[in-house]
Symmetry: C2
Subunit: 466 residues, 2 copies
């Protein structure tokens, strides 16, 4: 896709001549901007990259955070303890304006839970209740299972679903596509008269481990308990049904919503040298699900943003605008951190240059995704080219993150760090989301990419055009 610079963004490069550069026609419009940026920021970018990739401090910090506090679900003491620790560390790091910004968050608790196969043979199946699900009566729900491959099959067999537990055995296509069963499955099954629902975990590959995640109820159907099982067991129950064997399970879940509790977004800054009220956000979220240690989702993303600030500080770099580090709370089931930020900073959003979030693991970075005006996109792509030496220079259209969506909806351009996420969904929302899956050198490259992108965008003469 070729995007032409607008008049406004051309101001940025007005001093430069485009002539004489031997570049492909499609790139010609960007060539002068690239040259100007390389001239102005090339050396600084290389210093940031060198400093960020010199050691494994980011990986060690992800390890320490996740080892110390484990999983950090909204509403839990472990999340609040982790936030306290991060605030203390940010103060020790000498960052500026360190603070917690309050947000009330939902409080879902899993409680004890189990799934027993009763027929055709008795065995316990690994399961995880889905976030926001209701529980079962104390004695559980024992019912026959109806396995369906997709919503069309459920529609076709709706008359068989009444009084049963519907299992959605939908093979993984992509996270975006397949996750609709996790989000909508309880409603779909309930409408057909099911008494509970089960989900084949939304993952391209796993090893008999369920993956949790948020689900939804709505006013069209009575809420029913909803839990994920492993891919392996979903396929097995499906085979049993295809053989004509009756499949009966007992599902027990103590899951319940408790009243909202106070939490915080944690914030720290490197104040801008010229325009401190203009802000570039670098961020990740600090809450996780209540399984594994949330190392990829998303301690890694937050720590990459944190370390990006530290690298600038260490090099004595202070951009024109403020770089604001935000560790969001409650990304996983409510976005209350993102909403609270939007409301607390409503009057300042016009001076928010851009918001960057890393929430896709911190594997080898490939670049960024961007959502904003065409003219801003052209600038961001040019900045991205400063990351060519790491192979992280691909800036694609479309980017953002759950936590920054509320301010993006108010006009703030949004960006996501993109990385080699091929294995991300193997571990996502499961017991195996742990720091050992992350490579320290790749994490350091993510820090470098965040540092260069945030620094340059915060230092450009003009705010990104909206």
């Amino acid at each position: 896709m070729t995007r032409m610079p607008t008049t406004r963004s051309l101001v940025l490069i007005s001093a430069l001549a485009a002539a004489g550069l031997d570049v492909p026609a499609a790139s010609r419009a960007q060539a002068p901007r690239d040259s100007a940026l390389v001239e102005r920021y090339g050396a600084t970018a290389q210093r940031l990259i060198a400093a960020a990739t010199r050691d494994t401090s980011a990986w060690l910090r992800i390890a320490e955070l996740t080892d110390r506090f484990g999983s950090r679900i909204s509403g839990s003491a472990s999340l609040e303890h982790a936030l306290d620790w991060v605030l203390e560390q940010m103060r020790r790091d000498g960052l500026e304006a360190v603070r917690g910004e309050p947000a009330m968050v939902p409080h879902w608790v899993r409680g004890d839970e189990s799934l027993e196969l009763v027929e055709p043979r008795a065995t316990r199946l690994p399961m995880l209740g889905l976030g926001r699900s209701i529980g079962t009566p104390p004695g559980g729900i024992t019912a026959p299972v109806l396995v369906v491959s997709d919503s069309n099959e459920l529609a076709a067999r709706a008359s068989e679903a009444k009084g049963k537990i519907v299992l959605f055995d939908a093979p993984y296509v992509s996270y975006g596509e397949t996750v609709t069963y996790r989000v909508r499955g309880a409603v779909l099954a309930s409408r057909a008269g099911a008494v509970a629902a089960l989900l084949r975990s939304v993952s391209p590959f796993e090893m008999r481990q369920p993956h949790t995640g948020v689900t939804q109820y709505d006013s069209t159907a009575r809420p029913i308990p909803f839990a994920a099982i492993s891919i392996e067991d979903a396929m097995m129950l499906h085979r049993m049904q295809l053989r004509g064997q009756p499949v009966v399970v007992t599902l027990k879940m103590q899951a319940r919503m408790l009243p909202d509790v106070p939490s915080r977004n944690v914030v720290a800054e490197l104040r801008g040298s010229e325009r401190p009220d203009e802000v570039v956000i670098v961020s990740g979220h600090l809450d996780s699900w209540d399984v594994g240690t949330g190392a990829m989702d998303d301690a890694g993303g937050f720590v990459a943003a944190w370390e990006a600030l530290l690298v600038m500080k260490e090099l004595g770099l202070r951009p024109r605008r403020t770089v604001r580090l935000v560790g969001w709370t409650n990304e996983e089931y409510g976005t209350r951190g993102g909403l609270a930020y939007r409301d607390a900073h409503a009057s300042e959003l016009g001076s928010h240059d851009v918001a960057i979030e890393s929430d896709g693991g911190v594997f080898r970075p490939s670049g960024f995704g961007f959502t904003g005006s065409d003219s801003a996109f052209a600038i961001v792509r040019a900045v991205g080219r400063l990351l060519a030496s790491m192979g992280a220079d691909t800036v694609t259209a479309g980017g953002g993150g759950t936590d920054i969506e509320p301010i993006m909806a108010r006009g703030v351009p949004g960006m996501s760090l993109n990385d080699d996420g091929r294995r991300y969904f193997w571990y996502h929302h499961s017991e195996s989301d742990t720091v050992d899956k992350l490579d320290a050198r790749e994490v350091a490259k993510c820090v470098a990419a965040m540092a260069v992108m945030a620094y340059v965008l915060a230092d450009l003469p003009e705010q990104l055009p909206r």
Copy 2:
């Protein structure tokens, strides 16, 4: 390695001239044998391969067996039910001399078990007691953990081990090398005064799932409870120790040995047309650990052998010698099936041509391993070349299997089916050893390889030279 045919094996190819064949010098000695075998058996081998790979019946049978009975540990009702079912199916298949041959097997039961991290933070860690381990007192054992990377570190820090729980965090090198910690860890830790031991699971890759397997005690040290934890948690506890944090756990295990119980090797035959008392064994084991469904270890291996017999039967092929299918019992912790066979058939072992076992998963086959005389090895390599069209023609020196070791020790040549086992140890002895990991086309190729090798060896004019 070039092995020259002996005088005795040359009899097989005495009618053929070696001259005029344009083959590399190293292969020249085998060329006449190859030609004779191809001439005699090439068309039959292709028919066997075509029949074996025509459908997915072997995969479906592994699925049905493992879905119906789940895991099948020695001493369990599920193993005996599975053996009953297999005997019934073998009779339905019209196989000959279908029978169970008795063996008394050990009976280890896991009981309830758990591992709680107490310090530095409270959380439950996934664990699996190791086979044959003793249990803990009912209240469990709460003690500090000493993490060591290997036995040298334990030796160097033996004075710190007294009264502690020793965790062996030995990175995976190879199964053969690293499994020594599973087998010997309790003895090593007990000698140093430890009250229990933990093991980083023996696997190159997993997803926070422990892998069980047999361990041993000996007279040099008091038995102590011994359990596997996930690779992830072993690394985490090690990091905690390196940070100077005290690590304390509570280990509870009800594991215990009960009196031996009767079990069976299941046996069926395709009786030889000319020399029915001479026997080629094709086999796998039907017991498993008590986690997952033992699809790779080793329902798949047994079913591949079973289906190999059925393919011969279906094609109306009856070799000179008897092909005997054996589904061994108690491979995992006692080899009582293999020992019982040795004793029951002691007087007939001289007329056992060869014993083949598949116990390494049934992924894409590459060929066979062989243990026997050089002259027999040359013949088996030549037979292996009949599998070239499937890429399964590599016969390597050294082969066998736990169950056939007792008769190999009495002189019977032994063989193992070799396959692409790169992922085998990802799943081995864990909850994720399930049939979905196997590819139906690859399983069918294993059946074909077993069928061709067993048929031709059973039909050769002469018994394999010892």
